[in-house]
Symmetry: D2
């Protein structure tokens, strides 16, 4: 008999929800997608064609989904504003939870998810920072852990999206939490990973520009921003996030220590093709984050299933996901106020 698989549901069938559902269905040997939730009729229609034939039950009511017989886990991939509520409900219903990042754009709400998880230590609760599952980041982490570069003291990290001439992110600004919450939260998670989960932020400061969309100002947002994060103990990270990359997605991280440095994605590339023509020698870049991180998303659901089924430890704790949002929010506040935001050693804003 085939090994038991994790009976999992996917909440939300938007752009990323669809990808998650298909990954669970076809690329996650230890998961069985048994149900999906969406209130959207267009998404239901998509599910009729793509999920239902495989025995997936579709729910338009989230509580009904949670009541699906035998359900063990939920992948929450709805809009950010309901991530926390749905995660907590699932936890309280005794389900393992893999929630898309961020848990919330509000650090307190994030904390409420972590608190719910703490009350249910028997459940696996993870926020999906997909880069932690990327082979290149993992290789870099393994090399850093082995001492290859000494103790790292400086990290540069950027999340830079290809320019979207439709400016869709402007509409998104109202709920995204801003560019630091939406983009840099990944970099902050990586920084906490490489500097260590116990790193204590001391201050953050940020600046930005609205090069493309002046209307972003109304949301306290920017289309390009940079920030500095100081940690107690003398480590510093600096960030760049952008919606303005002409060539494509460019998510680059440098971890720098006295013995050397590790660079992840220093030469962004779509694939291994070089094109030589009258304009020179060029390569294409990924069009978006999924083109860059598709493999990591697949690995993520696989390892989540494995952790749930075998009781293994998850590769990262839920508290880090709270901390990442807390730092991102402070950066976003600094972007608006122009002021440095300081934290005490107890972790509270001064």
């Amino acid at each position: 008999m085939a090994p038991r698989t994790l009976q999992i549901a996917c909440a939300g069938l938007g752009r990323m929800g669809k990808r998650h559902a298909l990954n669970l269905l076809h690329r996650s040997p230890r998961s069985t997608l048994v149900a999906a939730f969406t209130p959207d009729p267009v998404e239901v229609e998509w599910a009729e064609t793509n999920l239902v034939p495989y025995g997936v039950t579709i729910y338009s009511d989230y509580d009904a989904l949670l009541a699906h017989p035998g359900l063990e886990a939920v992948l929450v991939s709805t809009i950010t504003t309901v991530h926390a509520e749905q995660s907590i409900k699932a936890i309280e219903a005794g389900k393992h939870v893999l929630c898309e990042k961020p848990l919330s754009t509000d650090a307190e709400i994030c904390q409420s998810v972590a608190d719910a998880a703490t009350l249910h230590p028997e459940l696996k609760v993870m926020c999906g920072f997909s880069r932690r599952f990327d082979t290149s980041y993992r290789d870099a982490y393994s090399k850093a852990s082995s001492g290859l570069i000494g103790t790292p003291s400086i990290i540069r990290s950027q999340t830079c999206d290809k320019i979207d001439p439709t400016g869709a992110f402007v509409n998104f600004a109202a709920t995204s939490g801003g560019i630091f919450c939406d983009c840099s939260v990944h970099d902050i998670d990586l920084i906490l990973w490489f500097f260590g989960a116990s790193s204590k932020v001391k201050s953050v400061v940020a600046s930005g520009t609205v090069s493309l969309h002046p209307e972003l100002k109304a949301y306290g947002d920017a289309d390009n921003a940079v920030g500095i994060i100081e940690f107690y103990g003398g480590r510093v990270a600096y960030l760049y996030c952008s919606r303005m990359m002409a060539a494509g997605q460019e998510d680059t991280t440098e971890i720098i220590g006295p013995e050397g440095k590790l660079v992840v994605n220093g030469q962004a590339q779509k694939n291994l093709v070089g094109i030589f023509d009258r304009t020179g020698a060029r390569r294409e870049l990924p069009a978006h984050y999924y083109e860059r991180f598709e493999g990591a998303f697949v690995e993520e659901v696989n390892e989540f299933a494995e952790a749930c089924l075998d009781g293994k430890e998850l590769p990262m704790g839920i508290q880090g996901a709270v901390e990442a949002v807390r730092i991102a929010r402070a950066l976003q506040d600094s972007l608006v106020s122009g002021e440095k935001v300081r934290f005490g050693e107890d972790g509270r804003r001064v």
Copy 2:
């Protein structure tokens, strides 16, 4: 009800057979691995753990495998010497066939597989030149087809393995057909793809060295070899194959035309990590072909399944696989004799 899947068996559970079996089991949504064949008790033991729990029946008799109820297709991944016989048997039993490359190291025997396939036009018969399924090669092909570089007239292609200090390939030399048959056959397949399946070889010539293993000479083989292939109509390809790469696998192809050139894997890399230390800035390379082409092998079985189920055309014809071996053999002969091998316009050796 979930869409019907292809009922497929895997013949051979050696290094590559294991990978194929697992890909069919876990990463090929439209295939169901129902059976596997291996005469090797150690491989049977592996199958007991890894395949049997998923409902796969293991056979130590190939004819019994073919008689498995409901079987529709066979992936032949045994040793090269039985590829042709098993493929023909499967074809004659009415099964679709995906055979690992090469069909045989003997062009006549290859042809016998193609002949069997011709007699069964209702069956899909494919030789697994995995690079045809690699996203980078496909992107390059698509760009070349769109006219980006004009009509290509020169191709450089190399298949270069990481050095294996155990010299395992020396033992393999007796049955591999030699370095051109084992390694360059991939490059030749690519050349026939980019130059067009109707390209007619005019001559080949080759030279090699035994830098590492003088005992290869006894097999008419080399550990490094270069070759030139001339085609009627004025196109030229040149090859390098090696067992001696210190840094890792380096399979590179350049397609050159008057408007530009396309390079696939001009900068071999294991992943996207850059390492800066006292020795400079470096990247690691893939350790072997599977690290480089894993995704292509998965795509290969998926597209094969799709073609069988939906009656779609395969991305390449079986006759090309015969031609590739014919050219590889001629190069190997030239390596031994030191003579240029010429072909008439009718395709026969002069």
Copy 3:
């Protein structure tokens, strides 16, 4: 008769002074090195061998140097603390001046040089920001000016030195003005070039670490530092400077606009050699700035001579050199205080 050459003297024969003197002697067709100044007996000895045979007169008194018959210009390459005084003296003596960067680590003193130059509009007075003469930076500038990337709004720039295990820069900290004055002043000059000389700084903020040399703290200095510069009108630059690069010198600049970005030295390299061995594929990096910018230093003295002889405009004004130090000082102050430093639209610190 050969065209008239510029009769020039070199003040200071330290590490960089020697290089300048030899460049003037052997690689600057329109200059004639007629004199040199150094108070150091060891440097005089070097000059006896390397300069005197070519007819160069050596002075241990700077005023005597200025009185050298027929002298037209002085290249000031002494220690930073006397740059301004010697430059002003030379200007007042009616000599053209090319002064090594920075004019001073004090912005007021820098301004006094600019003021002296203003009183002598017939003289060419330039601060040697060598990167302005580097072919790659010039190519990037030319491309940016042509509108290739739209109006740039973000610049990232770093000056990162190879780690020096002797920690010589610690002793240097007392007079260097700190890491922003010593290293980042180059980046700031580039930023003023690419954003335009009329850019008005609005604020700066900085953070740093003392990863290697805790004793730097006593000097208000760091061995790694990052900073953000905001300009009025909505442009932002961010900086990284370091004494800790294991692999070598890495001076990289990205100029980012809505239509694209230009990267200078994104892949630092000593030369065009790739090394493939058991550790992977690597390149070496320049060991220091002169290995990277040697050609720019030669071009610098050549263009300076040309400007003096032919009355051509210099590629950059002296006021920019004052501004660069003013910004560098503010960053250094922020590094120490942890406070953001703000400037009014009139250019004064708030």
Copy 4:
């Protein structure tokens, strides 16, 4: 008094002659350009402006040039057809000779220069294979010599020119000796350097295409060609030469041994600028060989002067220049005949 300089003349003031003359004049501290020869009135006019003001005497008669008072050396940079005659005359007149490559397109004529040089061991006679003076090739040679890659057994080398839409090289075909003599002779020289001057060629074979200019066939030439060179003792080199590179000059060499490989110019680049725009990330390439090798040409005349003045050994012997042409000619013959050309161990064609 300034050290004595080499009194040198430049014969020929064509495209390359002009560059040599200016390098001797302005960038070669130990040379004094005292005279130049050209029969061409347009070139004389250029010399009036650019050389005569510096005291250079212009001759339209080569014998008169050789009689220039105090002349010690001649740089022969006329058309290839007179290289040998002028070199021999200069040698017989007791002058050191630096002759542009090739000495002749005929190996026997090349040998006559070497023979003349042998009769005058007191003179320095060198054929200008400029790549020997390139810092990257030298670094690779130094690394190979230190044993970094073990004993190299395979070399790949290519000389590929940017496409010239005017097809000027077609007219040049009549006197160039063909693409192997014109382009690959550089690669052959490098191969003899890296494999060792005592390497004995065993056979060569070549193929080519006329992708752009069918009229080349009349000259026994091609616009793209590949070749294999076998050496006694088991080493192999393979070549590619082309007039068809859309993106620019691409001269690449790989030296491959059992411990690793060295690649020179694996990523051809004009400078250190990366351009990111809607088409991806690209770099520009050198437009021609001088853009790539300018520094090597300067170094070449400097080291030649040094050898002449100080009696130092030249970095390469004249006999190698004969051997390189002999191999190039054999490749060109093979290109036309389609036959392999073999050599006995005594060095004679079989």
